[in-house]
């Protein structure tokens, strides 16, 4: 594939292109792009040292795993000396003096950051319309209404749009309830959310700590595996970082399945879906059938509670995580006569509507008298959802679902928060359970828009998960469709 990391590395190795030329090519394209998928582009001067060092490594024949690869970074990762805003007004002047664990690993492996990807404010949104820097446009168009600007999904909407339009080779995103997988699906690319605890959260602006997980948005499953190799490391500075043994996720990714694979399809997920969505699942079944894969119907008992559970727990954590943005030490301060006025003005003007809504919901469900009814109850349901998944994984290797219930929609179309939240109905349960999930593009809708399917694996089984996703990717052959 032309834009795959291995293809680009081959070109760099074979001196068909230099690291600098590669950077220029992507930078120029990004600069002229109208998708608004970056809220900050990094001029070559900022990266020139890294570019030269990378070039030298190619010339010396010892390039690093991601050497010279231009990456986009969701603007939720703190990048040392580079403005980091979470696409919020309140952080619009914030430049951290530290590098997040994940972006440091990416730099250590030779990649070069082309810019910070626009995203929903504090990663709260499913359409990338809540950004202080304005909405991101999906590079795809509805062939029946080509004048409409469509959303790229969210919250890693800038990341997905940038990879889809080819303004970066891959992007690092975060996923709390679907924020990698859903935009990947709506933009026709690959998005991987690893098991919670795989990739350190240190230095990522926190939304909901028990759910946030970093992961790559890429052109191919192979690229996702390559990047996962760089970022999936234990970190002592993140208490929830798992110290399980990491594997080489790229090695053997295209190997033939050596044993029978059983995939569960939750019938309750497919009850009210459109023909377009249903056919993604059917096509996948057909594509994998010849590869020793057996499909079985499975049924969750907890699906209907997942969204409400998520929309209690995530805002609860967010209401507390966002308390530090008070205008006192950094970020935008709006003056006031009293201390309370400074807080009130800074936060009222600094946060957008969706963020404010979630802070209010979060504060409410944690408040005295409501805690037991909401937060504690939601924690119990979360446990049941985890158990529900484990019950199903007792019988199957993977679970296959649509990634989203619909194709990309028009910017401004889903203004009602509840219908927006429903976009994450297939991704949220996985997040609550902490399981890994990957979305790959599976086909086009009748409107000619990309749709995705999601494979869900058991805890820390990313290796197997990437293998089945790579197989499905090959068989579905989306990029040639």
């Amino acid at each position: 594939m032309k834009n795959s990391i291995s293809h680009i590395k081959n070109s760099l190795r074979g001196k068909k292109i230099s690291v600098e030329e590669l950077y220029d090519e992507f930078f120029t394209k990004a600069k002229s792009s109208k998708t608004n998928s970056f809220n900050l582009l990094l001029d070559k001067e900022i990266n020139i040292q890294s570019i030269k060092e990378s070039q030298k490594r190619y010339e010396n024949g010892n390039p690093l795993p991601l050497d010279g690869i231009p990456l986009g970074i969701k603007d939720l990762f703190c990048t040392k000396g580079i403005r980091t805003t979470a696409s919020s007004k309140i952080l619009s002047n914030f430049t951290p003096d530290y590098e997040s664990f994940i972006t440091q690993k990416l730099l250590d492996d030779g990649s070069i950051f082309i810019g910070k990807n626009n995203c929903d404010e504090f990663a709260m949104g499913s359409s990338n319309e809540t950004s202080f820097f304005g909405p991101v446009k999906n590079p795809w168009k509805n062939k029946n209404v080509p004048t409409d600007d469509l959303v790229p999904g969210g919250s890693s909407g800038g990341s997905a749009a940038a990879v889809a339009e080819g303004t970066c080779v891959a992007s690092m995103g975060t996923d709390t309830g679907g924020s990698i997988r859903q935009p990947a699906s709506l933009c026709g690319i690959v998005g991987l959310k690893p098991t919670f605890g795989s990739c350190s959260r240190w230095g990522i602006v926190a939304f909901a700590s028990s759910l946030d997980q970093a992961g790559p948005l890429t052109n191919s499953v192979e690229d996702a595996a390559l990047i996962l190799n760089s970022i999936n490391k234990h970190d002592f500075n993140d208490s929830t970082s798992s110290n399980h043994v990491r594997e080489d996720y790229l090695y053997g990714i295209n190997d033939k399945l050596d044993q029978k694979i059983k995939i569960g399809i939750p019938s309750d997920y497919l009850k009210d879906v459109s023909g377009d969505i249903l056919s993604q699942i059917e096509n996948t079944k057909k594509a994998l059938f010849k590869h020793n894969v057996e499909f079985v119907d499975v049924e969750f008992k907890t699906t209907e509670y997942a969204l409400s559970t998520y929309y209690i727990l995530a805002p609860a954590e967010a209401s507390s995580n966002l308390a530090r943005y008070d205008g006192i030490r950094y970020g935008v301060r709006e003056e006031g006569k009293t201390l309370d006025d400074i807080y009130l003005n800074s936060r009222t003007r600094g946060f957008g509507d969706e963020v404010t809504r979630r802070i209010l919901i979060g504060a409410y469900v944690l408040s005295a008298g409501y805690y037991d009814a909401y937060y504690r109850q939601a924690q119990k349901v979360r446990r049941l959802i985890k158990d529900d998944f484990q019950r199903i994984f007792n019988d199957v290797d993977f679970i296959l679902t649509p990634t989203t219930p619909n194709e990309a929609f028009k910017i401004g179309d889903k203004l009602d928060p509840i219908s927006m939240y429903k976009n994450d109905i297939y991704t949220v349960p996985t997040s609550l359970a902490g399981l890994p999930g990957i979305s790959i593009p599976s086909g086009l809708s009748t409107n000619g828009l990309p749709l995705g399917i999601q494979f869900i694996g058991n805890y820390f089984e990313e290796k197997k998960l990437l293998q089945i996703a790579a197989l499905a990717e090959k068989e579905l052959n989306f990029n040639e469709q």
Partner: protein, 478 residues
């Protein structure tokens, strides 16, 4: 004010743990640095920063658990206590709420005529906040985040205390124990140990009244003053027909008065919930057993030992066990000499402590000089030199100006304990004293003192007074 009122008091004591770094960050945990010097990205609440538990704090909590007879809970949870204040950069304090590490402990305190058991409901780990400074500038407040994240153990008693004296006794007993097990430096002036006092009044034996909480008292004097003032205030309110409102009070150290800071209506809703950045604390029995071996001997056990095994008077033993470093010095001296512990104890709390106080020294500074001190005490207890001579040369020994026997030689202070020599001197001193001798024989004991003095003078003070006394009596009774 009628006499049948009594006060009911519970205490929340905040003890800063003397770890080298903070509870959830690697910044130094030390007092007295320049403002905002001990602050890293975690302490200042930067975006994306995460807490990592300092395990030393857990070990200290377990030690405290053993020392204060607590149940040590194998499962405890850090939660977030949410509120806004500029000296709280995260916008929440990480504390333990529903599942504290220690529950149901107690400590015995000494009342004038009995011991009283004070029950302790719980103790939990939490972060200290920073400091807001409002009195440097008329327009601006200043924030010092050095204290942010300092580990605290909050020790919450039941309302078992019923006087200012008991509160002070409880607080000093806690302080003593925490210092013994080396988890807190006990420095109240620097805020290492502070108390919130919950006080209500009632008619003796009657129903509990509404309580008020007096915040942040950091000296025994202030605790006593605040309690006495608040006790009177509450009684006055009730006796003049009013009702006590459940308020949080501040104690004004300049006026000695308490005043309401905020009422319950305006109390915060802290929205506690388990901190998702931290895992629950799961303790293994192995760890608990290991920490148990580090607790060491507690003050009460030491006191009992000093009284029973070393025959030291209770009052003196109490002075020695009051602080761990006293006891360490004492035990070191005992181990290095065959001089009786009781004799050493008397010297320790007498002249040696006086010297330390006069020269503003740490007791522990004498740990290096115990050999010289016990050599000196041996000379005194063996009657080589007089008690008086011992006192005279003690400062030189403590100042390290030579070893005792050299000093004694140099100053010629050995006692004359040769009875032949003393007999000669005594016989000489009795010449021409027929009148006084007959007075003595007629029953006047006072004359004996006169003769001892005369003999001592004749020996230039070096005669062994005990021996002189003995020989004199023999001579005079003849």
């Amino acid at each position: 004010m009628s006499n049948n009122w009594e006060m009911v008091i519970g205490l929340e004591v905040h003890a800063q743990l003397n770890t080298s770094s903070k509870l959830f960050s690697s910044s130094p945990n030390q007092f007295g640095s320049e403002p905002n010097e001990n602050v890293n990205f975690i302490d200042s609440g930067m975006p994306g920063m995460l807490p990592v538990m300092n395990f030393a704090c857990i070990e200290m909590a377990i030690k405290t658990g053993f020392a204060l007879n607590f149940n040590i809970n194998k499962y405890s949870v850090f939660e977030r206590k949410n509120y806004f204040y500029p000296d709280l950069p995260q916008g929440y304090q990480i504390s333990q709420f529903e599942f504290p590490i220690l529950t149901e402990g107690f400590i015995n305190i000494d009342n004038p005529d009995n011991q009283k058991k004070i029950r302790i409901e719980r103790a939990h780990l939490e972060q200290d906040a920073g400091k807001s400074i409002h009195d440097i500038d008329p327009k601006f407040s200043f924030i010092d985040l050095n204290r942010v994240g300092t580990p605290l153990l909050e020790i919450v008693s039941y309302p078992d205390l019923s006087s200012a004296e008991e509160v002070v006794s409880y607080m000093s007993s806690l302080r003593q124990v925490l210092m013994y097990i080396d988890v807190c430096d006990g420095n109240m002036q620097e805020g290492s140990l502070r108390a919130d006092v919950n006080l209500s009044v009632r008619h003796k034996g009657g129903e509990l009244g509404t309580r008020c909480e007096i915040k942040n008292l950091n000296s025994f004097k202030f605790i006593r003053q605040a309690i006495e003032y608040e006790f009177k205030r509450q009684i006055d309110v009730i006796e003049s027909g009013g009702k006590i409102e459940q308020n949080t009070m501040l104690f004004d150290t300049s006026t000695g008065e308490t005043r309401a800071m905020r009422s319950k209506e305006f109390s915060h809703d802290y929205r506690y919930f388990p901190d998702p950045d931290l895992l629950p604390v799961n303790l293994t029995q192995d760890l608990i057993d290991k920490v148990k071996t580090l607790v060491g001997e507690l003050p009460q056990a030491k006191l009992d030992k000093f009284i029973k095994d070393y025959n030291v008077d209770k009052d003196i033993a109490k002075i020695i066990t009051a602080e761990k470093q006293n006891a360490i010095l004492f035990e070191k001296m005992i181990s290095e000499t065959d001089v009786k512990p009781k004799f050493i104890a008397a010297w320790l709390v007498g002249d040696i402590f006086a010297f330390i106080k006069e020269n503003n020294l740490e007791v522990s500074s004498l740990n290096e000089k115990t050999k010289e001190i016990t050599d000196l005490l041996k000379l005194v207890s063996d009657d080589v030199i007089s008690n008086k001579a011992g006192k005279e040369i003690l400062p030189r020994v403590l100042n390290g100006q030579g070893n005792p026997s050299d000093i004694v030689k140099e100053l010629g202070l050995e006692q004359v304990s040769d009875s032949g020599e003393l007999e000669k001197i005594i016989d000489e001193s009795l010449i021409g004293e027929e009148e006084n001798i007959s007075k003595f024989q007629g029953g006047s004991d006072r004359v004996l003192g006169y003769f001892v003095g005369k003999c001592l003078k004749a020996t230039k003070g070096k005669g062994n007074p005990k021996l002189i006394n003995k020989i004199l009596l023999e001579r005079l009774k003849k």
